[in-house]
Symmetry: C2
DNA sequence: GTCTATATGCAGATAGAC
DNA sequence: GTCTATCTGCATATAGAC
């Protein structure tokens, strides 16, 4: 039992540090300190830093993906799905505000592995891709390809998190309370922005 | 003259490497190799890695800012300014595709310094902030605050660049030619997306 | 200005006692 | 399982010859 809880403490600590510093910037010493143990014990549980990083990173990611798949494959109407995706992402990010930067770093550090992981988890965009083409063909929404719509939505949702240190300073006089309020508004703003752009009322 | 061209070679090489690997991941050896010199000479020109990084980073950034300020302070109509900002960013990014990731890392590594740098360069959003409030008050565009609109625009423009390794794999069967085509379309797509969302025809 | 060689320090990883 | 002490390697940085 002492062992399990130590491993859990390490993972918690590693999340904090990796997310703050990234894979390259993180130090095993710092992770050990944050977990209240020493480096040797860290290496007892996780042989290498790379291994620890992967467990942490993919552990976090795999919490997000099943929810998205469920939305993709669900029976809801197109516009409801759009809203669900925005809500899902936004809620998740409000709980893991440093995740986007973390993912972006990994996207560029080892894209092949990440891509494979998503496939392994069963994430596949072709369903949504077909869906949106149908909606466009039926004239329900303004013409747009899935990649463009996807990039637009993800970009709008994610930007306030990755840009926070700068945005908060430049746009909110460095007031964190104001910024949190701004973040809370995002879900609704993005949702109506997208719907209006696609030519449907919210 | 040999000296000046060496310094120039170093800066070019450092740009490449820092952009690929980030401040933490970059190695002075790799920069020296890419510049065709050795580490000692690198340290002759730039005493520390930190110093080299700052010169490269702020050197690149300072190319972008004056153009934005010109747009902000110009006499153009609001919608023309929106379009100009999108075009300016998008064109700049197509020439520096790795810059966003670079900036994001720095935003989180040392936000205070970056924020001060932008102020020093004279970048100030209050002009645009007032402008957009006026447009909303006049009923020319749908109500939206400047921070929300700004986050939306920047997010949409920047996302395809920071997410490229993943997006290209997942949405374009890892075909770089197709992805470049996609990137070329972004300027027009984002512009019309924004205008439609704000309730004006493009 | 440019090089080879070397110092210095630190981070990841291991050995071995308890 | 957990610790202290240590090894090994590598990255930044410097010394000093040319």
């Amino acid at each position: 039992m002492g062992s399990d809880s130590t491993k859990e403490k390490i993972i918690q600590a590693a999340q904090q540090v990796f997310i703050r510093k990234g894979m390259d910037g993180a130090r095993m010493q710092e992770i050990a300190d944050e977990a209240g143990i020493n480096k040797a014990l860290l290496h007892y549980y996780f042989h290498t830093k790379e291994q620890l990083f992967n467990e942490v990173f993919y552990g976090i990611l795999s919490q997000l993906i099943p929810g998205l798949i469920a939305i993709f494959k669900g029976e809801a109407l197109f516009l409801v799905k759009i809203e669900a995706i925005i809500t899902q992402y936004d809620t998740y990010l409000s709980e893991h505000p440093f995740l986007p930067q973390f993912v972006i770093r990994e996207i560029n550090r080892d894209p092949e592995q990440l891509s494979r992981f998503m496939s392994d988890q069963g994430l596949d965009f072709s369903v949504v891709e077909a869906l949106i083409e149908k909606e466009v063909a039926m004239g329900n929404i303004r013409p747009i390809s899935f990649p463009h719509l996807f990039a637009n939505m993800i970009g709008m949702i994610v930007m306030p998190y990755i840009g926070r240190p700068l945005f908060q300073r430049k746009l909110f006089r460095n007031d964190p309370v104001k910024y949190d309020q701004f973040l809370k508004e995002r879900k609704a703003v993005v949702n109506s922005f997208v719907k209006q752009a696609m030519g449907v009322e919210s």
